[in-house]
């Protein structure tokens, strides 16, 4: 990951003409979605392959369409303007074609050196909204394109996108249950564990550089921690029985998990090195799958203390336990939204699972999926998306959707083997 990345806003426009505000609010007249044209970037060097231009354009179109903020479509190369800034006449065809936003740029791929410059224009007001220049190597094409989509979302909505974040998951591709990590769109899958055993329930550290997970590699289901960038795995909790459903606190200092050393599964928190365990639940029922609130003050979890598994919420010291889900007879997999206002979970009814969100007072449940078995929801850092596993196409795959349930898309790409228990990195 030691890639030289120089990203800077290009000073193309004199201050004052285009403004230097934090972001420019772009709103479409009426209620229609903004239309974005993504023209193929021009090759600055005639030897640069056109596939690279296509790839850049496709990634940007995919990200922006998935965001739901704009309707984006790819367009052919523009004739290279002598001026980097477009003239009123340059904007006219885009305006006539009904576009609100235009992305154009240049790239070059020469001697293993990749340069990409991209610019986002407001077609209606005929001005530059944002621009970025990236320098790196050929393998950075995807990351740079996602990064520009992140920047465009920031420029349009005021909040940066999550298109450069990662999703960790479990796959049976090799015949065993191993943990992998991939880009948010399912590209660049990278195996992490290779122990030939059962590995499950990965969770990212808040900085996205480490994961915790449960593994049977030493016989007992113990909790391990490892970096994404080397193979050393440290056992954090290897107490008798289950050491599982580990969840990293938002400030990175503590880990909540379920331990069954006391006879049945109970929720504990411990330091991120496994020291100083504190028991939070104490009853003869099963308590598992803790999920931190974004401020770290509360923990949602699953308990069958009333007979069937339901979602409960307590303070992170174990006090003030209350039942959250009051409908449905089997509710599991809680995950707190990054904005703190909702909890996503999966409900089993009629033998199948679906993803729901519930408000914090438990009053309003919103069903997001209807098709197939859908489990283990996990939020993107901006709360715009959820990833989850689904068996809608037979074998379990990993999907993403917007937090209102729209735009459900399969992202896991491998053939053979099941893909499940996805978790989205915060960074």
């Amino acid at each position: 990951m030691k890639i030289l990345l120089f990203v800077f806003l290009m000073a193309l426009a004199p201050v004052g003409v285009y403004g230097q505000s934090d972001y420019i609010e772009v709103t479409a007249p009426g209620n229609r979605q903004l239309k974005m044209a993504v023209s193929l970037p021009n090759a600055l060097d005639p030897l640069s392959r056109t596939e690279t231009a296509k790839q850049i354009s496709e990634i940007i179109v995919y990200d922006m369409n998935m965001s739901g903020v704009v309707v984006a479509s790819g367009r052919p190369q523009q004739s290279l303007s002598r001026e980097l800034l477009l003239s009123d006449a340059d904007f006219l065809p885009w305006l006539n074609a009904g576009f609100d936003l235009l992305v154009s740029g240049e790239f070059s791929l020469k001697d293993e050196k990749l340069t990409i410059e991209l610019r986002l224009f407001d077609v209606i007001n005929r001005k530059l909204i944002t621009a970025k220049r990236f320098l790196g190597s050929p393998k950075d094409v995807r990351r740079f394109s996602h990064s520009f989509a992140d920047e465009m979302l920031r420029a349009i909505t005021g909040e940066k996108g999550v298109f450069t974040t990662k999703i960790a998951y479990v796959s049976t591709k090799t015949g065993n249950k191993e943990i992998y990590v991939m880009d948010w769109d399912g590209n660049n899958p990278l195996p992490l564990t290779k122990n030939g055993s059962i590995n499950m329930n990965p969770d990212f550290s808040p900085n996205g550089r480490e994961i915790i997970f449960t593994s049977y590699k030493r016989g007992n289901p113990d909790l391990y921690r490892r970096s994404l960038y080397n193979t050393a795995e440290v056992a954090l909790s290897k107490r008798k029985g289950l050491n599982y459903t580990g969840s990293w606190s938002p400030d990175g200092s503590r880990i909540a998990l379920a331990l069954s050393k006391d006879g049945d599964a109970e929720i504990y928190t411990m330091n991120k090195d496994g020291s100083n365990p504190v028991r939070l639940t104490n009853n003869r029922a099963l308590d598992l799958y803790p999920a931190w609130s974004p401020d770290g003050k509360k923990i949602a979890f699953v308990s069958d203390r009333l007979g069937k598994p339901q979602i409960f919420v307590m303070n992170s010291d174990g006090s003030d336990v209350r039942r959250l889900t009051k409908t449905g007879s089997y509710n599991v997999n809680p995950r707190w939204s990054p904005k703190g206002d909702k909890i996503a979970y999966s409900r089993m009814s009629g033998g199948g699972f679906n993803i729901f969100t519930v408000t914090l007072d438990g009053s309003s449940n919103n069903q997001l999926t209807t098709e197939g078995n859908n489990e283990n929801p996990s939020w993107s850092a901006d709360g715009r998306f959820l990833c989850f596993s689904s068996k809608r196409s037979g074998v379990s795959g990993i999907y993403v959707m917007r937090s209102d349930g729209t735009g459900q898309t399969k992202i896991s790409k491998g053939r053979g083997g099941a893909y499940f228990q996805p978790v989205w990195s915060a960074q």
Partner: protein, 213 residues
């Protein structure tokens, strides 16, 4: 006006002459004390040499210390790696023993989402207790709890443990020593029959016995 200018020029002239004279005097002094200065310089250079040597020696020591530290770290990493391998080998050995021993025992079956013991289950556990008391009195026995594929993976792990625990309790009432028994839940991770049917589910809701030591 001209008079004043003349005065200024004269004053400057006097100043320059004085400065040059002073400079010569200083040079004379320097010559007189040249030996001393040379000695001092020699002493100074000796001093510098000593200091440099000390510095070099210090750097050498630091380098040696660093090398020793690195060697120690490497040694520790090697030991940790070896301990890791040893531990893994121990578990692999245990796993082999465990897998080979399973045919000695009956499998115990459960109802959906239940961990209480049905009459058939009690009969199977009784037979296993007799086997243990007869042939494996001092062996360490592990009871594995398993579930069918319905329900969440995480909840099923807890349920599988409940099943293993039910079996353990009954075994103890039949005279098997508690200290020889341990539990392991696989939830729905290791189905006996990898299919989605009532028949497969019934085969998968089970507890298996294994000798691990």
């Amino acid at each position: 006006m001209k008079k004043i200018m003349g005065m200024v020029v004269l004053l400057i002239g006097i100043s320059i002459v004085t400065l040059i004279a002073g400079g010569c005097a200083n040079t004379g002094m320097g010559k007189k004390n040249s030996r001393t200065v040379a000695d001092v310089t020699l002493e100074n250079s000796d001093q510098v040499r000593v200091e440099e040597q000390a510095k070099l020696e210090k750097a050498r020591q630091a380098k040696l210390a660093e090398q020793a530290r690195q060697a120690k770290l490497a040694e520790e990493a090697k030991l940790a790696e070896q301990a890791n391998l040893d531990e893994q080998a121990k578990y692999d050995e245990q796993a082999k023993l465990s897998a080979a021993s399973k045919s000695n025992f009956e499998i115990v079956y459960f109802d959906f989402d239940r961990s209480d013991l049905l009459p058939d289950a009690r009969e199977a556990i009784t037979k296993n207790a007799e086997t243990i008391l007869k042939s494996f009195r001092t062996s360490k026995i592990q009871i594995e709890g398993h579930c069918d594929e319905r329900g969440s993976a995480e909840y099923n792990l807890a349920l599988g443990e409940d099943r293993a625990k039910s079996v353990q309790k009954y075994l103890i009432t039949l005279g098997v020593k508690a200290e020889n028994l341990s539990l392991l839940s696989y939830g729905k991770e290791k189905p006996a029959v990898n299919e989605s049917s009532e028949a497969a589910w019934a085969m998968n809701r089970r507890a298996e016995f294994a000798i691990i030591e």
